[in-house]
Amino acid sequence: MKAMSPIVRTMTGLLFAPIFLFGAYIILHGHLTPGGGFQGGAIIATGMALFLVAFGSERWRKKLLSILESTGLMAFVSIGFLGIVGGLFLYNFLAGTGSPIFGQEIAGMAGYAHPNSAPLLSSGTVALLNMFVGLEVVSGLTLIVVTLGLFAFSGKEDD
């Protein structure tokens, strides 16, 4: 499909950054506040759809998107397999170990009645899983929108 008028393109450029930032926030704080990988990913994908409509769809690289999608899913399952080290599939082997990657202890914080009731770097693998789900959802949903958009406007047959 063709790109739209300069006004739309400028506005999209302005809007895209906040949408992306909001989505990233939702993903990264998925283990603390409402939301998570899927919600944040969907928000970013909405921004991508806006981008697609405004700037046209000729230069989207579907191959890259599908590789990103596979990577996200694969990383998710791999983290599950890593859990076998701790005993079982999908076992949360990072939580509370004190490791710099999301391993911060949350002991001693009970009764801390704030909506954000734990530090950002806690929760072990949950946050990592959220990120990979986010990656997968962004690329997957964008892929769906790009494919359907290409199909609808240019009639290019692939898939």
């Binding site: 409402p34 939301g35 919600q39 969907a42 928000i43 759809a49 949903l141 769906i144 929108v145 199909f151």
Partner: protein, 86 residues
């Protein structure tokens, strides 16, 4: 002023809006209008989710239901025919 009354009134208005928007989906012969009505229903539904204390679902519904699904529907209508004949 009794705020809970206002809260209930908003609740009722949102539910009525959902039903009205879905009736519009049935009535509209122009499919793009129907898709927009569907998006409106979805957006009101996400507000309703927020009222029912499900903020995470509300975010997802707003992004997916009102955003992406509508985009997909519009693409599909572009790829087929815009009017519903009968």
């Amino acid at each position: 002023m009794d705020w809970s009354l206002l809260y209930d009134a908003i609740h009722v208005v949102i539910l009525l809006g959902i039903v009205a928007a879905s009736v519009l989906v049935v009535r509209m012969k122009d499919l793009v209008s129907a898709a927009v009505a569907l998006a409106a229903a979805s957006l009101l539904l996400s507000l309703e989710f927020f009222i029912l204390q499900a903020p995470d679902v509300a975010i997802a519904e707003a992004a997916v239901g009102a955003g992406l699904t509508t985009a997909i529907y519009i693409f599909a209508i572009k790829g087929t025919r815009r009017r519903e004949e009968y």
